[in-house]
């Protein structure tokens, strides 16, 4: 022991004159750090109730509860997270995971109560003092719990694709599909939005498990056209995919296609093992498009005998005659159709109702009817000179190409319209060697066609002229040509709201001569095969049927579906109509038996 050691403790006195460490008013003067993980904030308006926070929470601290304000919104479950602070550990995985980006944390942290049941609150719905606190934890830029970017799809380069009718999209390879399938967060929001309510998360999971046969089985539960929909579906599911809010939506369509592509047609029967009995009932279906064949598939599974009447020489309807083969190769369409037909569906080709058989005859001969005749009559522009022989209809051009006929578009083509038919007609014309101009009365953003289709047609060299309103068709000097007079349009906001309307500028008119003009401004139904009396009974609005629940009409036996009966007019809706009509027909045919396969409301 030395003196220094003895004295050293007294050095503590040197601190006596320093500023004290003590925080004078600790509760007030020390807010949490800017990124502190305090109490939860949820922007309920942005939240979509996907439940991913609930799923990632290892403490089971988050319940998804009904909040009526948000029920019925598109792509929103109407549920909102409710936190249990008797469970939470403030790890913020829920914040990191939140695909909507609506969840974050404030930097508040003091909550004292004598009642532990109080620690339950629905953030953003119940009032909290911290809801508007700008500080607190949020997910840092560059940090993700799931990959936000989609696996890019390989496609034929436009200079190659335009040379032939070969399929443009390559399809995912297995490693690509596994990576893309991995991105799914399995919330199931898409299931409600899909018109057919396909089990999207489940079949994506089957990819991750590399169980493609299971994937096929899952898809056929709701959709007997997976090869087709895997290529041309309008994929509303992707538009509501939560992953798409802060990143890119899961490529649901391409994953569906991937599953089908892994399976050979000859294996379908073994994998799906569909049972078809014999109920003794006979059902007639008019139209072998997606709606009619979907109904046929599910009716056969219910054991009913099915006869399909088709006016064309092949089945598929618009899928065959309206969708070009570079988007949907015949082989893939046939994969779907052949399997349905293989279940014992009798298709009468080249049989037009009203011409070859009377509708009333069918009413007499069959126990139930399903009408799914589609929209086959091209809309007319109703402008002068429209009847010129060099004005072709888009549908006709597509049908000609699909049937192997030359539509004779010539070298210089103008396409009028902004829908998918217009884009297809334009791209088909490009493949036939023409130089193509698309005239559209509004802006590109207003085009009803898929953005991908618009993009691809531009890539393939179609020249899109927007805000161009055709006013007159004029005979050209050569009978092989035709001129069009069109005027430029200004977009004017309608004071009553809605989308802006194009207004013709009469001082800015153009006249241009083409080898042909393809009109593709929409199509309507052809219901001439129905007598006036029957039409009056079927409740037709705007040229379309207005079916009831289960697709039934006021004519007891008659069920309707597809483009001719719905507003969305796409394949997937037609497929759902067919499926649902099959349910309705089954209920109608077996009113007592509880063999109905539909799930009752629980």
């Amino acid at each position: 022991m030395n003196l220094k050691d003895l004295l050293s403790p007294f050095y503590v006195w040197q601190r006596a004159f320093e500023k004290p460490y003590t925080s004078i008013r600790p509760i007030q003067e020390r807010p949490g750090a800017a990124a502190y993980r305090g109490f939860h904030i949820n922007i309920s308006e942005e939240c979509i109730g996907c439940g991913t926070c609930h799923k990632i929470c290892q403490n089971d601290a988050i319940d998804m509860v009904r909040v009526e304000t948000y029920e019925g919104r598109s792509g929103d479950s109407g549920l909102r997270p409710r936190f249990d602070y008797g469970r939470c550990c403030w790890c913020a995985l829920c914040v990191d995971m939140c695909p909507a980006g609506s969840l974050r944390m404030s930097n508040e942290y003091t909550w004292i109560t004598s009642d532990p049941t109080e620690f339950h609150f629905t953030a953003g719905v119940e009032h909290t003092t911290w809801q508007d606190n700008p500080l607190g934890y949020h997910r840092a830029e560059g940090y993700h719990l799931y990959p936000p970017k989609r696996i890019e799809m390989e496609m034929l380069p436009p200079e190659v694709s335009v040379q032939s009718f070969d399929e443009v999209v390559a399809g995912y390879s297995e490693p690509q599909a596994l990576l893309e399938a991995d991105r799914c967060i399995e919330c199931g929001i898409c299931v409600a939005t899909c018109p057919a309510h396909m089990d999207v998360p489940d079949y994506i999971r089957s990819i991750r498990d590399r169980d493609y046969e299971k994937g096929l089985q899952l898809m056929y539960r709701t959709n007997p056209f997976p090869a087709t929909c895997g290529r041309i579906c309008t994929r509303r599911c992707e538009s509501v995919c939560p992953v798409g809010i802060q990143g890119e939506a899961i490529a649901i369509r391409w994953l569906k296609r991937f599953i089908v592509d892994q399976i050979q047609p000859q294996d379908y029967a073994r994998i799906l093992a569909d049972q078809t009995g014999n109920s003794g009932h006979r059902v007639a279906i008019i139209g072998a498009g997606p709606g009619g064949l979907s109904a046929a598939y599910y009716l056969r599974k219910q054991g009913h005998a099915v006869t399909v009447f088709e006016a064309q020489a092949s089945a598929g309807g618009m899928l065959r005659y309206g969708v070009p083969s570079y988007r949907l190769p015949d082989a893939d369409l046939d994969k779907d159709i052949n399997y349905i037909v293989s279940l014992g569906v009798d298709i009468r080709y080249n049989t037009r109702i009203g011409k070859d058989i009377r509708f009333e005859q069918l009413l007499q001969d069959f126990d139930a009817l399903f009408l799914s005749t589609g929209l086959s009559v091209p809309s007319s522009m109703r402008i002068h000179g429209e009847e010129h022989p060099r004005v072709l209809s888009g549908l006709q051009v597509l049908a000609d190409v699909a049937s192997g006929r030359d539509p004779g578009v010539g070298q210089k083509v103008a396409v009028i319209g902004g829908g998918n038919v217009a884009m297809d007609a334009a791209r088909v014309s490009r493949r036939l060697g023409a130089e193509v101009t698309i005239l559209y009365r509004r802006r590109i953003a207003d085009m009803p066609a898929d953005t991908e289709e618009i993009h691809e047609s531009q890539e393939e060299g179609c020249h899109i002229v927007t805000q161009a309103i055709p006013v007159e068709i004029i005979a050209a000097s050569s009978p092989q040509q035709v001129s069009i007079k069109w005027g430029e349009a200004e977009m004017v906001q309608d004071p009553k709201g809605g989308r802006p309307r194009p207004v013709l500028q009469e001082d800015r008119m153009h006249v241009e001569t083409y080898d042909c003009i393809i009109s593709a401004i929409g199509q309507g139904s052809d219901l001439e095969f129905l007598s006036k009396e029957i039409q009056d009974q079927l409740a037709i609005e705007w040229g379309k049927f207005a079916p009831g629940e289960y697709q039934h009409t006021s004519l007891q036996k008659v069920f309707v579906g597809g483009d001719v009966a719905n507003r969305t007019a796409d394949a997937i809706s037609a497929i759902e109509d067919g499926h649902h009509a099959a349910r309705g027909i089954d209920r109608f045919l077996n009113p007592d038996a509880r063999t109905h396969t539909d799930q009752e409301v629980n």
Binding site: D63, L79, G86, C187, I189, A192, R221, T597, N602
Partner: protein, 181 residues
């Protein structure tokens, strides 16, 4: 040097399944009978003087407990994991409490958490972490901790959670979608 050692271990102790594993460990498998002898040899002759831990993995599907003795050689900086498979229904292993002072603690833990017996190991039957435990050893795979907790400790009532996908089906399309079969 390591390969020489391994060759010798194969020869003398019949070790199998020699695997290099990232970042820097080698694992090998030895029979239950040769286990204690091999570990003693490694400690006394080969410089594996440090016992990192003893642990067990329950491979219930194979009916075995896999004991792992992790050894370290401070001089050559080698890590060696010795796997010894023992039967689940006759879970017993030679004690190594005479080799390292901490070994019996691990063995007590394994006794409590897996029900593995180490004859001769001190204080083996004493409670270690648990007290008054009356169920299956909790680290066994077939012990359901969530169920046990819910039954014994309960959870505060008043919580209900809905599944978004199912809720949307009930609300928006009760009669549509995939039919239940």
């Amino acid at each position: 040097m390591m390969s020489e050692l391994l060759d010798r271990l194969v020869r003398d102790f019949g070790v199998t399944d020699i695997t290099e594993r990232p970042p820097a460990i080698t694992t090998l498998k030895v029979s239950k009978e040769n286990g204690e002898r091999l570990i003693r040899e490694l400690r006394d002759r080969e410089g594996f003087t440090h016992l990192n831990f003893i642990a067990c993995t329950d491979w219930i599907e194979d009916g075995i407990f896999r004991l792992i003795y992790m050894l370290h050689n401070y001089d050559s900086k080698q890590n060696l994991g010795v796997h010894i498979d023992i039967k689940r229904d006759h879970a017993e292993m030679t004690s190594i409490h005479t080799l390292w002072a901490q070994a019996w603690t691990y063995q007590r833990e394994l006794r409590e958490m897996y029900g593995i017996h180490f004859p001769g190991s001190p204080r083996l039957e004493e409670d270690f972490c648990l007290e008054g435990w009356d169920a299956m050893p909790p680290m066994r795979r077939d012990f359901d901790t969530a169920k046990y907790s819910a039954e014994r400790f309960g959870h505060r009532e008043g919580r209900v959670s809905l599944v978004p996908r199912d809720h949307m089906k009930v609300q928006l399309y009760p009669n549509r979608g995939g039919d239940e079969s």
